[in-house]
Symmetry: C2
Subunit: 336 residues, 2 copies
């Protein structure tokens, strides 16, 4: 059955059914909900906590290629990238709106799978999908808005990095970009590596628990790596009016990248983007504590420096300092 045959209201009913089945009253988001899908707006009981609101958008042929991603993966990813923004503040996600634009000739079954993907990740994070809207469009586009909150008064921002702080990351970067490369260009590799690369790109895991722990142990500055390690570090440097020094030899390289991308993994690791790991800065003693407490890898990759505010310098494998320009860094003007 095609979307145009089912019609707007039939589609809303179908979506409502999928979400209704996912409803779990053990989650406070669902318990506090007064009105979900089906009225002019979603309504829930507020509280005095600090509120967090974010939105992100996936557009066909810009952010995803329908030829290489399943609809369930796409649904998952659309939610994951937004949860990651909440995680980067040390917050807890709660409510999501889904704004869909799609062509009438799309199969209704694709929409079901898309929502199954969203719902499966929302369930893991106790997020309730409470509304949205549907428009017709030539190309598919998924805009998610996510509301969350903070437990206490403190949060992780981009603007508190201090000279002398160490710079660290959770997990590995570059796998998502390498995964995209594999999906688009093909790559001869073992099944496990294929799975790791595909999931890194299409089923990213937002570091919500890690964000909470960072906050709890006194970290003040963090960002999720969506634009790329260096690019997001520049965001922190600009917002904090500091500089950063990265040692190339310290940046962790996942075994799959070492095996299958021997000659170009540096590009993926430093500039790949869509990793959704947390990049943070903190005094050394805090980072050392976090390395012991967190189950995911925490790697120190450099330090915050007072000179060159707003800039990042890289110490390469040959022990030479290089500016990003010398490093072949492409500016982001090409992005739009």
């Amino acid at each position: 059955v095609k979307v145009s045959e089912l019609g707007e209201f039939g589609l809303i009913e179908l979506i409502n059914n999928i979400i209704d089945r996912s409803k779990n009253l053990e989650y406070s988001s669902w318990r506090k909900l007064v009105i979900g899908i089906g009225d002019d707006v979603a309504v829930w009981k507020g509280d005095n906590s600090l509120q967090l609101l974010t939105t992100d958008c996936l557009i066909e042929n810009v952010h995803f290629d329908p030829g290489i991603v399943t609809w369930a993966e796409l649904g998952w990813k659309a939610i994951a990238v937004n949860i990651s923004d909440i995680a980067a503040m040390g917050g807890i996600p709660a409510y999501a709106l889904v704004s869909l634009a799609l062509p009438g000739e799309m199969e209704v079954d694709c929409i079901s799978q898309l929502y199954q993907g969203m719902v499966s990740l929302c369930d893991q994070h106790q997020v309730a999908i409470v509304g949205g809207n549907i428009s017709s469009s030539d190309k598919t586009m998924i805009t998610i808005t996510l509301l969350g909150s903070l437990k206490g008064k403190s949060m992780l921002t981009r603007s508190e990095a201090k000279t002398g702080d160490l710079i660290a990351i959770t997990g590995y970067t570059g796998l998502s970009a390498a995964g995209l490369h594999m999906l688009k260009q093909g790559l001869c590799c073992d099944a496990d590596s294929r799975r790791i690369l595909r999931e890194a790109h299409l089923k990213p895991v937002a570091r919500v628990t890690e964000g909470l722990v960072l906050l709890q142990y006194g970290v003040k500055t963090a960002i999720d790596i969506s634009d790329g390690l260096i690019s997001d570090l520049i965001h922190i440097c600009k917002a904090s009016h500091v500089g950063a020094l990265i040692e190339q030899r310290l940046v962790p390289v996942h075994p799959v990248l070492q095996t299958y991308f021997k000659h170009d993994y540096q590009r993926f690791i430093l500039a790949g983007g869509e990793d959704y790991e947390l990049l943070f800065t903190a005094p050394g003693r805090i980072v050392e504590k976090l390395k012991k407490i967190l189950s995911c890898p925490i790697t120190i990759i450099g330090k915050v420096i007072g000179d060159i505010p707003g800039e990042v310098r890289v110490l390469d494998y040959n022990g030479e300092y290089r500016t990003l320009k010398e490093f072949g860094w492409e500016h982001f003007k090409s992005k739009i």
Copy 2:
């Protein structure tokens, strides 16, 4: 200057400047704001009120034609349609996120005008624009998310219409659809009428004050007329499990429609859509009170009936009851 020349981050800076100039700390939305544009998410101080969240999307060549709308009008309308959803609950809007998808070859000046349009309406309603995101895309697309709240514990929903309630509307319907007709097909009419029709379609006014008064005087059921008078009445009937009877002779006709659309204004009035007036049901004594108190026209157009749940019947000018099918009603399946 084109968007692609300025780049994503240059564009964010430009937008940030426009919004920063609109900041008004006399508004509680700005006062409670902790972090606006420039971090992973927007952050503000929450409270115990009922929270309202809605989203709506305008897509080039689906919802608007860039040949007939100015960018400032488009910005206004994108915000207005969302404020209207909050108004239809009897709520007060507070925070907006703007998700933009746009082609790189667009002029930066268009984006400035778009935000000027948004900011001018936001200012009227004391709404703070606190974030969003920008993607590249073939076609322009504006997705707004709006968060608001209720003053008390009650709200206007679609599901409380009772048999015997009168059905009433604020203002006039059909002007927006007639305005679109004028803009697309041309129409020979005086300057005042041109302005009324253009503004009805491109600079709609959300009935926030009226929604608050409705709630205050005990109205329980309302919807904003976005799909069209009859279509939105069906939404109420379905959600409330009641039927509705509309008397065609009671539905108000704006003088401009009577003058310039003598032969087809009925279609615009009953099915036009995008009017953003409030359609509500309430006992007669409440509606009579509202007619005296509100400065906008309040017109009784029919009543809620117990039989035909989920359906609307129209008593035509000849005194004959007609089902919507007989009335030439087109189903919405064509919409997607």
